[in-house]
Symmetry: C5
Subunit: 347 residues, 5 copies
């Protein structure tokens, strides 16, 4: 796994994915408040209702201010604004409630994927430490490290719904073509890789009753049973993380919440020009634009962040970067293992 | 379990359930904001108070605007709107508080059922891996897998309160008719299935002191005790999930919260036409409709999502789909087990 | 425990408790919004301040509107309503904050008691499974099941602060009169029952070094140590639940929060008629009533739900029902254990 | 430990501490809303800014209303109140946000200390049960119980920052003078007591490889290893609780939050009389007092509850009472242990 | 490690770091509300937008009030303030939502680092207790303590992104120059130190099957396996904490949230003078300043606290102090270990 060429091949594949999801500088107001990037603003998520509301506002204001419509038609009562205030705070709460649910979900996703990368490196570290000094086990440890890395990369591909499975280049020097194919053909590639990890744990540390080798003394059997349990618990942890991510990917907020909020919002915004045109005149057009952009933008941000597994959305999880970090850590662990055997201090 | 015909029979039964709870497209505003589906909007939950409030509004506005009532009767003071603003924000908080409690509950339900499906597949994976290579245990592993799947399906039926227990077709190729009957007749079918899983764990991995077979060497006994503990911990995890779901199903928000909020809301809405008719005239009818629809709809959404275990509510948990996914994963695990014994990389 | 007469005796005792805390139908608006039950509304918690505020409002409005007071006295400035709006939203937040703390506490109580019932049945299930097939252990398992059930019932009585301990009828067929007396006389009955459960675990599964019986082979000792650990962990879980419940019962929200909120609320409400009477006239009386009922009712709901362990409060935990469900599950587990020994599928 | 005189000596010491932190009756409005206790209201935390704001308000209103100042100086524009409304809701959110953070912290503190008392009694219960029947271990169990109780009392003293360590009287009959001195001189007394508990666990249940006693048979070694692990896990739990409490004591909310909120609040309140005096006249004085008392009181409550470890603050953790309860439970456990050895039901 | 000179050298290095992050006195209003420290207020985070908004406000007000601009140009309609109120509460929620997310993150960081310091001392305590009485193990325990302390200090340096690794002086008397260099050159120094800790655990407590020493009897092997598992679990805990901290450092709130909120805020603030100048006149300048300072300051506080790992930010984690406390605790544990071997009470 630590071959330089292979590492470079993997890195360049992942770097291509990372380039689509750059980090941002939260301290720069110029690059945030004035950002003109429609992808960063996820404008696609609310462009249509925004256009719709403002078209109505534009047409109605023009008709009204140019006196095209007779005043008998346009005499909408302006005293309705108290009804607006009455309902607005409820709508504001709802919007921010939706946004905060999305933010919590987003962070849950991040936490679970972070659990995957941290879990993989711990699994590899413990496996290597207890395998070292025993040739048979060291071979199994190699397999286990490979499958653990494959688990992280397969989770990424699975969550993104890549129909043809994980990209092969990411596994250069880790799994053979054949293994990648087997994994990608499985119904659930991450579960497949995890099952392989568990099999490695069994192969290395399980003293089965049917084993013909009578050489195991009880003392080492005890020690091994305890290590086996520890490693399997780490597999369990990884399984829980991927389960949480699947759940988050498959489950949106209940439909009724979204429908009701959006209907509410659209009625609110489209009725605005009719109620306020008498008071605001031509100013209706920018005012309605500002209010609708502000409110629809909040809804849009929530929609954008609800299921953040897309490879080319700037606001989604930067899974390529996380997997790359995970690979780098595993590579370092493999290096250290060769160097320091017993944890003694030197010098 | 992996017989094609049986799998198809199970799938078609579950697919019928899934069809009643389709997923939705959160990115489409047209299909959400403009949705006319009364079931998606759970209109049933608040149709009556909505009708009641608007009937009063309609009658009063007509009486007033057509001068049917003498003005001495109708002279309700319009200066009360400051009282409205004073109480409204408290009511808005309360409404959104209730909604957010319901959302948290809903997600807790989803998490617990997700725990069931993820726990079942992990239980099966570990059981199979450690049973393989030992004919007696492999038989027990078959039983354990079947009961674990049965646990998931029985939980679904139990939570839905299906009086005649789980549907038999869902168990085709998993449990015999007789077993399904025994399980459905139990006071608590999921607990029954789980108890069977625990018995399988005991049968496979427990070296009882009374066992006459002296062939077990201590090393393998050690290894088995550790596996047994691990599997039983997974059963424990499943038990906690079903316990959490039962608790959520049996417990509503305290009655006083609901009563007080609804009384508050009804007083607020029904008094609205009397206070505002002087200012809004005929506009009172649409304004009261809009406000009451917005606010009652929030309450309705909370009521709808509080106990989300109904098979034909669109907004409730799509448990048929989750169970189907669980079965598919277990089937895949059974397949892999035959193929890869030791976790070695090939190719 | 599964004797029919005993079960009936227990059930009727618990059913009497359940009758005081009926469930409610959240979908019916008529029975919630229009409920006239003072106990459901916990009117007792805020009847006095409500009466006080409205008496002041009534007297002042009458004095003012009947011109009993000269206008020089009554000339309170009406422009203060902006001060009202300025402080109201802070008060509204505070009220709903208090309510939501109470709701979280209430649900924490529910979760902990749910943990008790679920923990008891799991403890019994595991104990029985691993005791079966060994006559001595089966006897201990009977004791353990009895003490576990007693733990649940004793927790209920302890949390309710029943000075004479748990009701004896609830233990018919579970514990002898003498055991119930011993438990009730203990400083902490649930802890006593739990300690008995732990002793049963030790008696059944602990191979003490002082035991003279040399017949135990190491293999079964291993298996038993692992089962013992598992059962003791379940006792630990039960101990944590009862600890959490004690803590919730003994700890209110910090006094300063309650004092400050209530002072704030009373100043706000009692000053209302003085400020608004000029504008609202006779309408002051219903308006102040509506506002004070709405706000004091929120505070009252929080007070009512803060420590929900009372046997005759409708809004409190329905612990009789939970204990009954727990007993039913344990009874079923005892039945199954006789029938299915190995978890095999039949038919 | 269960000697009557010793128990009485301990109890009277703790009762003196408890008297400083009485409980309150949340159902009585008279004793809460009308409370005149400055310590309950923690008036000290905000007396200065309150005095400052109201002095300004008083002076300005007098100057203005007695026409001491010429009108050209006093002509502050009253139209600024819209700026007030614009910023107020943000300030209200901030205030309640700060209050709710403090409430969550307070409850975290309570939970952690509750974990200590519950953890101590569980540790003692398990230790005694598994030590009984073995004379050497029973001696160690006595030491372990004493150190566990000492841990609870030392945590209390440590969190309160008592410079001379825990009060000796609290340990009457538990630890010798010499042990108390050794503990109090340690850098971290609770950690010292915990370390002693762990040493007791080792002494009682650890079969070290260097022990010369060959009498241990493997079966009992197994059982003991499992008990040792369980007891050490409980020590770990206690360590986590005290770690959490130290963290809460040492960490305030980030300074910027407090500074910004307070500056905001002071600007808001001190500018109030200048803006509103034209409209409110002499009423400015009570109005500014009411608003400033309400808002500063919320901030004061948050400050008061942020680090609730003071022995003489009414609103802080009643740690004397918790420790007393813990001692009572441990004493009861010691009693039971003598009576019931096997958990069997009697009668 | 407990050499006086070394301890002093370490302490003075850490004290230098601590001096940059002094604690504050939350009870003093004078030093908080009136604080003029730009670093405490993190003015750098929002100085630019603040200057920009107020420059516009200043210029526009001067132009308008000195009649430089003709009135036809300046006739912006003042009736827009209702649009302000309509959107303001949504903006206020958003701001406080962002602030509260940052506060939660900040506290998560604090909790995780607190987990590191508490975990290190527990790891050392348990390791020393079970190593004592066995010369070989006592040597390993020294190494393990050193690496555990190194882990804490390396985490600090790693989280601060110190490009040249941890400062050597902090390790005086703990690690040799050579070890510090090896650690600092590793890709991930904390993981390196943790891996060393795990190796020490293995060296001390693992009975490998390949070990030629047949002297281990099964009883002690059992006991050691259980201790090994316990110590490795504590390493696992430390690994999770550092994983959580890395995740928090590498992940900001989704970009869309920040961009949308800031755009919203800037449009709101910059349009303010145009809308309100007619009403407020020269008062526009202080009013806009006050509102913009209040709102931008909230955003600035959130930005400041989002990733709190900087060594010279007053509001960031005081990691030097935490590491110092951790070292002091470890030093005390080393002292106690020499004194009290068995946990017995003396005197």
């Amino acid at each position: 796994m630590n071959d330089v060429l292979n590492a470079r091949a993997r890195a360049s594949t992942l770097a291509a994915g990372m380039a689509k999801q750059p980090d941002y500088d939260a301290r720069s107001w110029a690059r945030t408040a004035l950002s003109a990037s429609t992808s960063k603003r996820a404008l696609g998520a609310y462009a249509r209702p925004l256009a719709c509301v403002n078209a109505i506002s534009l047409i109605w204001t023009i008709l009204r201010e140019t006196k095209t419509l007779k005043s008998s038609v346009t005499g909408v009562n302006t005293s309705f604004d108290s009804a607006y205030s009455l309902t607005f705070s409820a709508m504001g709460f709802l919007l921010v409630f939706r946004l905060s649910r999305a933010a919590v979900r987003w962070w849950d996703c991040r936490t679970a994927f972070g659990g995957i990368t941290a879990g993989v490196r711990d699994f590899v570290d413990v496996f290597l430490i207890y395998a070292s000094g025993n040739a048979r086990r060291e071979g199994v440890a190699d397999d286990a490290s490979a499958w653990a890395c494959a688990f992280a990369a397969a989770s990424k591909a699975f969550l993104r719904g890549q129909s043809d499975g994980a990209v092969r280049e990411e596994f250069t020097g880790i799994l053979s073509e054949e293994d990648v194919r087997a994994m990608n053909e499985a119904t659930h590639p991450p579960l497949f890789a995890l099952s392989m990890c568990r099999r490695c744990v069994k192969t290395a540390f399980y003293h089965s009753s049917s084993s013909s080798a009578p050489s195991h003394d009880p003392s080492s059997a005890l020690a091994d049973a305890s290590v086996r349990g520890e490693l399997n618990k780490q597999c369990e942890f990884l399984a829980l993380q991927v389960g949480a991510l699947e759940r988050l990917r498959a489950t949106k907020i209940p439909e009724i919440y979204v429908i009701h909020l959006r209907t509410f919002l659209m009625v609110y915004l489209t009725s605005m020009p009719f109620v306020f045109v008498n008071r605001w005149g031509w100013g209706t057009i920018p005012a309605v634009f500002a209010v609708s952009f502000a409110l629809l933008g909040i809804e849009g941000a929530a929609t954008e962040c609800e299921i953040p597994f897309n490879a080319d959305h700037v606001n989604h999880l930067k899974m390529d970067a996380y997997v790359m970090g995970c690979f780098a850590n595993v590579a370092a662990i493999l290096d250290w293992n060769a160097e320091r055997e017993r944890g003694e201090r030197v010098g």
